[in-house]
Structure formats: C-alpha cells, structure tokens
C-alpha cells in the first residue's frame, strides 16, 4: 500500500516486457529443439528398424492404428479440460459396436444409407451414455470418476448381454470401404502410395472439427473457462451445467464414431475390443500436455499425443521388443512426458 505507485508501475512494466521477450524466445527455442529431436529420433528409429519405419506402408499403418485412440482422446480432451474424466469410453466402443452391428443386420438397408443410419445410431447411443454420465455430475455434484466408472461396467455388461458374449458379424459389405479402403488412391498412386485409409480421413475430420469447436466457438471458450475457474464462469452468466453435460455427450459421441470404425475394420461388432481403451485415451490427452487439473488443453496436441504413443508402439514392434517390455516403455514414456512438461512449466513460470 505504502510503496510508491510509480515504482510499482515501473517494476511491473519491466517485468512484463522481459516476460514477453522471454516467452517468445522460449517458444522459438522449444520449436527448434522439438523439430531437431524429432528428426534425429526418426533417423535413429529408421536405422534400427533397418529402413522399415520410413515406408509409406508403415506410416499409413501407424495412422490407421491410432485412429480409434485418437478419436476417443479428442472427446476425452474436452472432459479433462473441465477437470473431469471419462472412464466409460472403452466400454462404449464395445456397446456402440454391438448395437450398430445388430441394427445394421436388422435394418434391411444397404449401401451408403446403411452406413449413415448405422453411424447415427452408434453416435446417438454414445451421446446418450454421455448424458447419463453427466447428469449425476452436474445435478448432484458426484465425481465423474464414479459415474463414468459405473457406466464403464454397465456398458460392457450390456454389450455382452446383447451379443451373448460373441462378436456380431456384419451381414452387409457396405462398411468394408470404411474399414479397408483408401481415399485419394488415384491421386497418390503415381507417388507409390496406397492412398489414405478412410478411417484416417474420419479421424482427421474429427480432430479438425473439434479443434475448431474448442478454439473458435463460444462453447469451446466456455469449456476452457469453466475448467479454469468454474465459479467465475458461473458468475459470468455461463450455464456451467449445460456446458459440462455437453462435454460428456461429446466424449460419448466420439466413442460411437470410434466404435463404428472398429466395427467396420473387423466387419463385426465385438463386446471385448475396448478393454483398456479409456486409459489409452487418457494417456494420449496427458502426453499431449492437457492438465488433469483442467483449464487448458488442445485437441491438436492430443492428436500428437496419440500419434507419439502410436509411433512408439509401432517402432517397438518393428525392432521386435517383446510386448511386456513395450508396456514398461510406454508407461515410462508417459511419465517422462508429463514430468518434462511440469518441469518446463516451473522453469519458465516467471
């Protein structure tokens, strides 16, 4: 109070100017370091895998393999930004897959119409489950950990019950294109590339759409605001209950999309394909730098988190690391990524 206002002003101005300069310098340094490290890593990996890594076929494979996890992780990103968590998405892949396969077989439709109708059904089931996840959270203030854990069990149980524990094979071949075909095949053929799998196209669309939703829309801003300070968001007139509810609905819907792609890939809806997927999606979000405390996060960073995990799995397969060791490495990488981010924040905090 009694300090000279002029001094305070001067000190403030000085510190913030320095801060800005430091921040932009850090940004450039980080980008350069990240790029160099990444290129070095690719060269090393390619060397150890005897040139198998940097082939069009393998890179396409990596992208195809991360499709499901990346889509789940996009929805999970929204939930985690609000300081919540969605443990049900793994089971919801299964439930939506089984429901969609049964719907497709019973609907009497075929062709693109069947694909569209089935997808709508799957997404609606996922969104409905998300709504059930959200209501006790926003109405009774229950922890999302509990409501989504309950949904994880219920959805998995329901998927098993509906399918009698057996995969439900698809009668129609309308989904094959999504499961195995490539987009831009003709365009990329002269370059010796098979094209881009349709599933990857769907993933990219999901990533782009939700990146825009998070960064460019009012809804996205509200998600970030309520994650950062729920009370301030509420007092600013934001209907935090509605925003929070939609976050879980989005996560459920993403599980529906992932469930559809997985069903198309295996030409059947299976009740046991999603075990552990919820944790994989959380790992992708966290490796992407989104804080579990809420308030900040990025869909694009989550995509790169999923990509990093996918590349790691792929490389370990290529160099014949046994699967138990793979889990150890993966766990360690996740831990290191989060620790590095935390240390970076502390070092550059001021």
């Amino acid at each position: 109070m009694s300090a000279e206002p002029q001094d305070v002003k001067a000190a403030l101005d000085a510190s913030s100017d320095q801060g800005r300069a430091k921040r932009s310098r850090n940004g450039i340094v980080r980008a350069v370091v990240a790029t160099v490290a990444f290129l070095a890593l690719v060269v090393v990996v390619d060397f150890f895998s005897h040139g198998d890594f940097l082939t069009a076929g393998n890179l396409t494979n990596v992208l195809r393999q991360i499709t499901y996890n990346a889509i789940l992780a996009v929805g999970q990103t929204f939930v985690i930004i609000t300081a919540g968590i969605d443990l049900s998405v793994g089971s919801l892949i299964e439930l939506t897959g089984v429901v969609m396969a049964q719907f497709a077989n019973a609907s009497g439709l075929d062709g693109p119409l069947l694909v569209i109708a089935t997808t709508v059904v799957g997404v609606l089931v996922g969104c409905g489950a998300g709504l059930v996840n959200a209501l006790p959270v926003v109405r009774l203030n229950l922890p999302p950990f509990i409501t989504t854990l309950a949904m994880m069990l219920m959805a998995r149980g329901l998927a098993f019950k509906l399918s009698h524990g057996q995969p439900v094979p698809l009668n129609s071949t309308a989904f094959d294109a999504l499961g195995t075909d490539y987009a831009f095949h003709d365009l990329l053929a002269p370059l010796g590339l098979p094209g881009i799998p349709w599933a990857v196209m769907v993933m990219l669309a999901v990533v782009i759409v939700f990146a825009v939703v998070l960064n460019r829309t009012r809804f996205g801003r509200y998600v970030l605001a309520l994650g950062g300070n729920e009370e301030a968001a509420r007092l600013a007139g934001i209907n935090v209950r509605v925003v929070k509810t939609f976050v879980y609905v989005i996560s459920g819907g993403c599980a529906g999309i992932a469930g559809m792609l997985l069903m198309a890939r295996f030409a059947s809806g299976s009740p046991q394909t999603g075990i552990g997927s919820e944790l994989q999606s959380i790992a992708a979000v966290v490796v992407g730098g989104t804080s579990l405390m809420g308030g900040r996060g990025s869909v694009v960073a989550t995509f790169f988190g999923a990509l990093l995990i996918g590349v790691l799995n792929n490389v370990m397969n290529l160099v014949n690391v046994e699967s138990y060791t793979q889990d150890i490495v993966l766990g360690a990488v996740i831990l290191l990524a989060v620790m590095a981010e935390e240390i970076r924040k502390r070092v550059f905090a001021h």
């Binding site: 109070m1 009694s2 300090a3 206002p5 305070v8 002003k9 403030l12 101005d13 913030s16 100017d17 801060g19 800005r20 460019r216 829309t217 009012r218 809804f219 801003r221 509200y222 970030l224 605001a225 950062g228 300070n229 009370e231 301030a232 968001a233 509420r234 007092l235 600013a236 007139g237 934001i238 209907n239 308030g295 900040r296």
Partner: protein, 492 residues
C-alpha cells in the same frame, strides 16, 4: 517482533512493524481490513516468511520457517476459520499430528488421557467422541485451544475469536483466557469488536497501512481515540467529489424483503439512478450475501427485486446479467477471473455472444473491445493476450471491471472493489464509478474499509445479522456512528 516487513507483488503489506507480547498478557491488535494484521500473524505462525526484521522469543532470536517451527517455539494459532478435521472426534483433533503411539499402533488410551488432561486443566466439558463437524462454534474453538495447550503453546494468537460466539460463550471464553493468563500464557488478540477490548485486553496496538501506529495500555485508549487511530490518514485520503443525486432521479434498483438461506433475513432498500449506496458492517454480517442474492449468485428464498420499476426473477447469474446487473465479486481470484486465460478472454467472457458470429467467436471484435477497455481503464498489460495471472492485483481488478463494462448493465454491485489494490488503481476505480453514475447507473458497494464506504457513498446502510441495522445519509455517516451500529453498541 521488530521491524517486520513483508511485500507481495505490487503491495508492501507490512512496513517495519514492531510488536511485543509479555508473558501473561493479552495484547490486542486492531486495524482495518487490509491493515496488515493477518499478514503479521501469519508470519508469526510460519505461514509466511518475513522479508525483513527479527523475531525474538524470551530474548533469543529465532527464525520461523514453517508451521512446525512455530509449534516448536510454543506459538499456537487459532484462525477464524478453524483448522479442525471435520470427521475426526475431539480427542483425535486435539492430538492430531502428535498422536501417542504404542509400537506401530495408535494408543487411543494415551490420546484420550492427554486430551482429557488438557480439557480438565481448562475446566471445560466437551463431548469427547463427537466429530468436529457436529460441535458448536464455541466447542470447536475450545477444541482449538486445547490443541494449542497440548502442544505446550506459551503464546496463543486468536483471530476474531468472538465473531461467531453468543454473549454467554464470549463470557466463558474471556474467563478461560484470564485463567490461562494467570498461568503465564500470552495472547495476541485480533478483533474488530472494539467494545470488547477494554474487557479483555491489557495493551492495544493499532496498525494501519502495514505500520504499527501506536501501542497503549488498554485503560488509556478510549474508543474515540481507537477509532481515530484506526481510520487515521485514510479519512484524509482523496476520494473524488460525489456528484449529488438528482432530486428527481428514478429508482433504479428496489429490493423488498429479500431473504436467502445464506444469512439474508429480510432486506429492503432502494438505489436511485446516479446513486452509490454503501453497505457497511462486520465480517459475517451478511453484506456479501445480500449482493450475491440480488445478482443470482445465491438463490433468494423470498422477497423481490425490481429494476426500473419492473419485478425481475433472478435465479441464476445468467438471469442477473440479462436483467442488467453487473456483479463485481469480492474475491477476484476465486470468483472474478479465469486466471489462466488472457485479458481478452476474461474481458469478453460475460458477453461473449456479442462478440460472436453464429457459434463462432469473432476474435477481431474481441481484440477491438479489449484494447478499448485496456486504454480506457488504463490496464497495464503488454497486450490483450497477456495471461491475467501475470498482472498485478490492481490491474487484475480492472480486468474484472472491463468484463462488466462491456455489457449494458444499469445496476452495479461492487463487493470490496479495491481490496488488495494499490493507491493509484484505487483512485482509478473510484473515477470509473463516477463515470458509471454519470451514465445513470445505480451502484451498491460493499466495503470493509470504512473510509471508502464513507467517502464513496451517498447513503450508508449498516448490515448486522443479515438485516439493515441502520441507515445514514452521507452527512450523518461518521466513523463512530457506523462502527457503533455495525458492532451493535450505542454510539457515545
């Protein structure tokens, strides 16, 4: 303690305070909110570290690096909000952290014996196995005192100990304090209730603006002197001249018999266009709760609110904003700002639809309005893209104001608008309030700084027990009258 200084970013909270307590003495520490009492006590308790100065106990210089150090040195701290674990019983709370053990296991018998011994020594009866959350406030306080004694505290710091006690409980507390005094326990006693000080304090130190102003024996400190010393310079502080309210100014805000579960018990008042009504009162009197209920931050359980003669139903902050109410909350960090967001994002948060095209945020429009507000309110920030966490308190507060100025509110509820804000920013915030008046806004201002209430209100309403206890026109609102009404004593 001698020459203690402590600065926070942008504020020097303590500026060379010296303070001593003798064995077996009750030394009262008084001052307005923000004078530095709590900071001083937190340094003593090890919650903060002093930037400068020395602390001696029994003549030996000591350093207090954390709560454990304070405890080892025999300093017991009893905060206004108690530090009991709500789901543990009295005994477990008393021995918390120093539980007697037998091998690997807790020794419940020894714990009970120790707690009982402390309570017997105090001559008090407590339901020993009741969990803390089910104790009355007075019982919780006694538990805290027992906790301090079990730790061999020789100096006990009490922050507003009587704020939530009944008269009888207060009498019992004072008897207990006298008893402990006789055993050479020293007390630092922080209180806003000036009328009780002559009954309990041996000496009184007034601090103001982070400086120790005067220490006197309680017997030599008549209430008038005390108030004058507390308020002191602040009364000379520069408040802008309030333009008079036009005699024909319409009633902008009318509150009738407002009630809310949160300690609002039938409040009625009106505010005219171009008028500032100040709500004064002690901490916990219900001032904040009144404005929260008007704004829809808490849901009113009864009564009505009318704006420009039209009844409005406000059951959420959103409805409050729609009705034309801007609520500038007291705690900008917890309620006013999303600290991790930028100046721009915070500025537009309450009216984002205005800066959107369809569902999409129009970033150019956001930047434009934010830059306008930065210029108008002279917010010192490198750009609209600065994270508000990095701004000083005064500039953060201006961002909160910017958020509410971008709308078309006609009623502004300011809750502690200048708390933790430096002198320069204070003047700017006052100037801004005058601008709002010129636009015909009605302003309700809650403030614990008496000079501010007196200097910046056309009328002062004193709140006590969730009701309006007294109303003073500007000319009649003197510090002693307002303080007397707030404390519930008859003014001399």
């Amino acid at each position: 303690m001698a020459g203690i200084t402590k600065s926070f970013p942008g504020v020097r909270a303590l500026d060379g305070v010296s303070f001593d307590v003798r064995a077996g003495e009750v030394h009262a520490l008084v001052g307005e909110n923000g004078a530095g009492k709590s900071t001083l006590m937190k340094i003593l308790a090890g919650a903060y570290r002093a930037d400068g100065g020395t602390i001696e106990i029994d003549g030996n210089p000591v350093t207090i690096d954390g709560p454990k150090d304070a405890e080892r040195l025999g300093i017991g701290m009893i905060y206004q909000e108690f530090n009991l674990v709500p789901d543990l019983g009295v005994i477990e709370n008393v021995v918390l952290g120093i539980e007697p053990v037998r091998g690997l296991f807790l020794d419940a018998k020894a714990a009970a014996a120790r707690a009982t011994a402390a309570l017997t020594e105090l001559g008090i009866n407590l339901p020993l196995d009741r969990v803390a959350r089910r104790l009355s406030v007075a019982e919780q306080q006694l538990t805290e005192i027992a906790k301090a004694l079990v730790r061999h505290a020789r100096l006990i710091v009490m922050d507003e100990p009587t704020a939530a006690l009944t008269d009888r409980e207060t009498d019992a507390l004072f008897a207990l304090i006298r008893k402990l005094k006789a055993e050479n326990v020293a007390f630092v006693y922080i209180s806003h209730r000036l009328e009780e000080l002559p009954r309990i304090a041996d000496r009184i130190t007034v601090i103001r603006d982070g400086r120790g102003i005067e220490t006197r024996a309680a017997a030599d400190m008549p209430p008038d002197d005390l108030i004058r010393l507390m308020v002191g310079r602040a009364l000379e502080a520069h408040f802008p001249d309030l333009p008079p309210v036009a005699p024909d100014a319409p009633v902008r805000l009318a509150v009738r018999d407002l009630r809310a579960a949160s300690n609002v018990n039938g409040v009625s008042f009106v505010v005219h266009a171009g008028e500032i009504v100040g709500l004064a009162g002690l901490v916990g009197a219900g001032r904040t709760e009144i404005v929260r209920a008007i704004a829809g931050a808490d849901i009113a359980s009864g009564g009505s609110v009318a704006i420009d003669g039209r009844d409005v139903t406000i059951r959420s902050p959103h409805a409050g904003i729609d009705a034309g109410i801007a609520f500038i909350t007291e705690d900008r960090k917890a309620q006013g700002l999303v600290l991790g967001m930028t100046v721009r994002e915070n500025t537009t948060l309450a009216h984002l639809a205005t800066y959107s095209r369809g569902p999409f945020v129009d970033r150019a429009a956001e930047v434009a309005i934010t830059n306008r507000e930065i210029a108008e309110l002279r917010i010192r920030t490198p750009s609209s893209e600065q994270i508000v966490r990095n701004l000083s308190g005064g500039n953060q507060q201006k961002v909160v104001l910017a958020k509410w100025l971008t709308g078309d509110a006609r009623v502004f509820l300011f809750d502690e608008p200048t708390r933790g804000v430096d002198v320069g920013a204070k003047a700017e915030i006052y100037a801004l309030m005058l601008q709002l008046l010129a636009r015909g806004a009605a302003i309700v201002m809650v403030s614990s700084e008496l000079p501010e209430v007196l200097g910046m209100s056309h009328r002062v309403l004193v709140v006590r027990g969730g009701r309006i206890a007294a109303e003073f026109a500007r000319a009649d609102a003197t510090p002693d009258r307002v303080i007397a009404a707030a404390a519930g004593v008859v003014a001399a």
